[in-house]
């Protein structure tokens, strides 16, 4: 009976949304803000990747909110999962192939992760995507050797430090008489690695924060007590 009610509810909601979405003429939407940003961004922000100009420039406070959401989720997960009895058995270490594969992959993934973060203002990618790759890089050794202790203290320092760098960069602009998160430094030449003012620095902070948070989150999930067989 409950399932039937749920089915009726989901069906009704889907129908309602379909009816609503049927009313749009897609690809005809007014582009007030979109067009404005496309013309304004290249000179103003100096990032070749306009998505980055939106993410860190025009809507920088949204990005701050988003990394805070991730932080809140990781803190909440730590609150719920953060205690483990010391006497519980851990998973056995991985085999030879997994361990050598991890040793090979780890530096590669670090390089790719940092490359994507640091080129966020030039090419598609950036702090969020690169941060996830960094987190995966640090999670791999944990899969190969589950008994290695995770340095949660270090992770929380990276997390807090990166978040603080993001906010302090914003506050520096406020101190200089501008607005919070106003881009500082020179825009440089469009398309060069050192360009777009403080945007690459912000993306580095985002990348490290996302990486540390996701790595900590996955380590906590992997560390949940296993039921004894």
């Amino acid at each position: 009976m409950r399932n039937l009610a749920a089915l009726v509810f989901v069906g009704g909601l889907a129908f309602l949304l379909l009816v609503i979405f049927n009313q749009f003429d897609f690809a005809q939407a007014p582009m007030i803000v979109g067009q404005g940003i496309l013309t304004d961004a290249p000179d103003r922000v100096g990032a070749a990747n306009i998505v980055t100009a939106v993410v860190l420039g025009y809507r920088g406070i949204d990005t701050l909110g988003e990394i805070s959401i991730l932080f809140a989720a990781s803190v909440a997960a730590g609150l719920v999962l953060g205690r483990r009895r010391t006497d519980v058995r851990r998973d056995p270490p991985g085999g030879f192939i997994l361990r050598s594969g991890v040793a090979l992959l780890f530096p590669l993934m670090l390089v790719v992760g940092f490359y994507i973060i640091l080129h966020g203002h030039l090419t598609p990618g950036g702090g969020f995507q690169g941060g996830v790759i960094l987190a995966a890089a640090f999670f791999l050794p944990l899969l190969a050797r589950p008994e290695t202790p995770v340095n949660h203290a270090g992770l929380s320092i990276v997390e807090g430090g990166a978040g603080a760098v993001f906010i302090l960069t914003g506050l520096a602009a406020l101190l200089q008489g501008g607005e919070f998160l106003q881009p500082l430094l020179d825009n440089g030449v469009l398309g060069e690695l050192v360009s777009a003012g403080t945007l690459p620095l912000l993306y580095l902070a985002v990348g490290l924060k996302v990486g540390a948070e996701l790595a900590g989150l996955m380590a906590r999930l992997a560390d949940v007590e296993v039921d004894e067989p």
Binding site: L17, I20, Q23, F24, A29, P30, M31, I32, V33, G34, G36, I37, D40, R44, G57, Y58, R59, G60, I61, D62, L64, G65, E66, S68, I69, F71, A72, A73, V75, A76, G78, L79, V80, G82, A153, S156, I157, E159, G160, G161, G163, A164, I167, L168, G170, L171, A173, L174, G178, E179, F180, L181, Q182, P183
Partner: protein, 486 residues
């Protein structure tokens, strides 16, 4: 004046740093949060005195709206920023010395609530709303009992559904008008959103944001979470977070959806919430559940008040919101030691007369006994409802009167129980309330009495706030005159 952004940013900064700092120095970790909040309160007061009642807008990052995001600072948003900071400081989790994570979550909640009150951009509001949600999931689960995990999971699922609905509504608004800036939307709304599609966008946002506002069909998480979470967290969620959700809806109603049907939709949902909440509270057998259900009922009344068109509705709704924000956390704090069955409370009031006396005072104000502020707020609602021609508002008047009768019945039943001599069969009652909870409740009760004494000036000032907030033209001019100067 652009330092108003610090009220959002400094608590965020403190939240990021607190877990690491607590590892280095537990004392600093404990002090950082309250100090940050206290500083933010001072800052808000300073800005409030400096603006001399004239609203202004801050373009974040120096990007002028509508391309960038702006914070809109008027008396209403400052009032809610101030209330957010003060409430989070009063309900700070002092006891949890060993859990810096709870400090971080409370700070995140305060920061996002300030952002919600100040933001002038629809998507930015959504981001802060999400942050409030995620922080409150963590806080609700923080007691680590099985019941609190189950309650938080249910809360999480319902809240997730609500977020998706709200996001769909925002997407519709953006597709129809091409901008997310509230000021620009207020100008475009009459031609782009005054359609069935615009109404569906409002309905989706109302349901989505209504999850936190304890709106009728999406409030099934309320009793379980308030019964399982710590009383400070329940006070924050019922007192503060619900009001901010209502504030978002009210801003959207004033600026974007001026159709009559939008108001009527909210009125009907509010009516259903009032009836269902009060009846459920009347039948509740447990203190926290009773308070949770009665909170649903009172939020329903607040929704009814805000659905009265014009300044009258805003004025009455604001008065009711402020009153509820003051009384509900105090009641939750009192209920901390009176958890469990209502029948087991026989004699608890005699065992601790101060707590019992404050419960009586708060209950009287909640019901609306004449000299207390609760009466004044409800009186505003009645005059507002009675002035409306439409039949549905007259029905609402009847429903609110009925809800007061029910409310009086169950609250006085509890009071009678509290002051009856304990019988042989009653459970042993703990009379120890902890000086912290008792002190906070005392402070809130004192504020209630102060509100009663200074009712005249307070009312005049609140009316001024309501008139300023009810003016979409002022909102537009404030946001866009600033960009003309730059």
């Amino acid at each position: 004046m652009n330092t108003i952004v610090l009220t959002v940013v400094l608590p965020l900064l403190a939240a990021f740093v607190v877990p690491a700092l607590s590892r280095v120095s537990p004392l600093l970790g404990r002090l950082l949060g309250p100090l940050t909040l206290a500083y933010a309160i001072l800052l808000t007061l300073q800005i409030w005195l400096g603006m001399e009642g004239k609203p202004y807008s801050v373009a974040l990052g120096g990007f002028q709206p509508p391309l960038g995001i702006n914070f809109y600072v008027d008396q209403l948003s400052l009032l809610f920023t101030f209330l957010t900071l003060v409430t989070s400081l009063l309900l700070w989790p002092w006891r949890n010395e060993t859990e810096p994570r709870q400090y971080a979550l409370t700070l995140l909640l305060a920061a996002s609530a300030c952002g919600l009150a100040l933001s002038g951009d629809l998507f930015n509001i959504y981001v802060f709303y999400e942050l409030i949600s995620v922080a409150s999931f963590g806080l609700a689960a923080a007691t680590r009992s099985g019941a609190s995990f189950a309650a938080s999971l249910r809360y999480l699922i319902l809240s997730g559904l609500g977020s998706v609905l709200a996001l769909c509504g925002i997407a519709i608004v953006y597709l129809q008008s091409g901008t997310l800036n509230l000021a620009q939307l207020s100008q475009l709304a009459p031609e782009t959103l005054n359609t069935p599609l615009g109404m569906s966008a409002f309905a989706l946002i109302l349901l989505g944001v209504g999850v936190k506002g304890e709106l009728f069909p999406v409030n099934s998480w309320v009793p379980e979470v308030y019964a399982a979470a710590s009383s400070r967290v329940s006070g924050l969620l019922a007192g503060l977070v619900s009001k901010l959700a209502v504030l978002v809806i009210v801003r959207l109603l004033v600026l974007l959806f001026q159709q009559e049907s939008a108001l009527q939709l909210m009125l009907i949902l509010g009516l259903l919430g009032t009836i269902s909440g009060e009846l459920a509270a009347w039948r509740a057998k447990d203190m926290n559940r009773m308070l949770a259900f009665s909170s649903i009922g009172q939020l329903g009344v607040i929704f009814i008040a805000f659905s009265i068109p014009g300044e009258t509705g805003l004025f009455a709704g604001l008065a009711l919101s402020l009153h509820h924000l003051l009384v509900k956390p105090a009641l939750f704090l009192l209920a901390e030691r009176w958890r469990g069955s209502l029948a087991g409370l026989r004699g608890a009031g005699l065992a601790s007369p101060v707590a019992g006396g404050m419960f009586v005072l708060l209950a009287l104000s909640l019901v609306g006994m004449p000299p207390l502020p609760g009466f004044w707020a409800k009186f505003l609602l009645f005059t507002g409802l009675a002035a409306q021609q439409s039949v549905i508002y007259q029905v609402a008047l009847g429903v609110v009167l009925l809800s007061i009768v029910i409310e009086a019945n169950y609250l006085f039943r509890v009071v009678m129980n509290l002051f009856q001599p304990a019988g042989d069969n009653s459970v042993a009652v703990t009379s120890d309330h902890g000086w912290l909870n008792l002190g906070t409740t005392f402070l809130l009760s004192a504020l209630l009495i102060a509100g009663m004494l200074f009712m005249g000036p307070l009312g005049a000032w609140l009316e001024e706030v309501a008139i300023q907030a009810a003016d979409p033209v002022l909102y537009f001019d404030t946001v866009f005159s600033v960009s003309a100067i730059h």
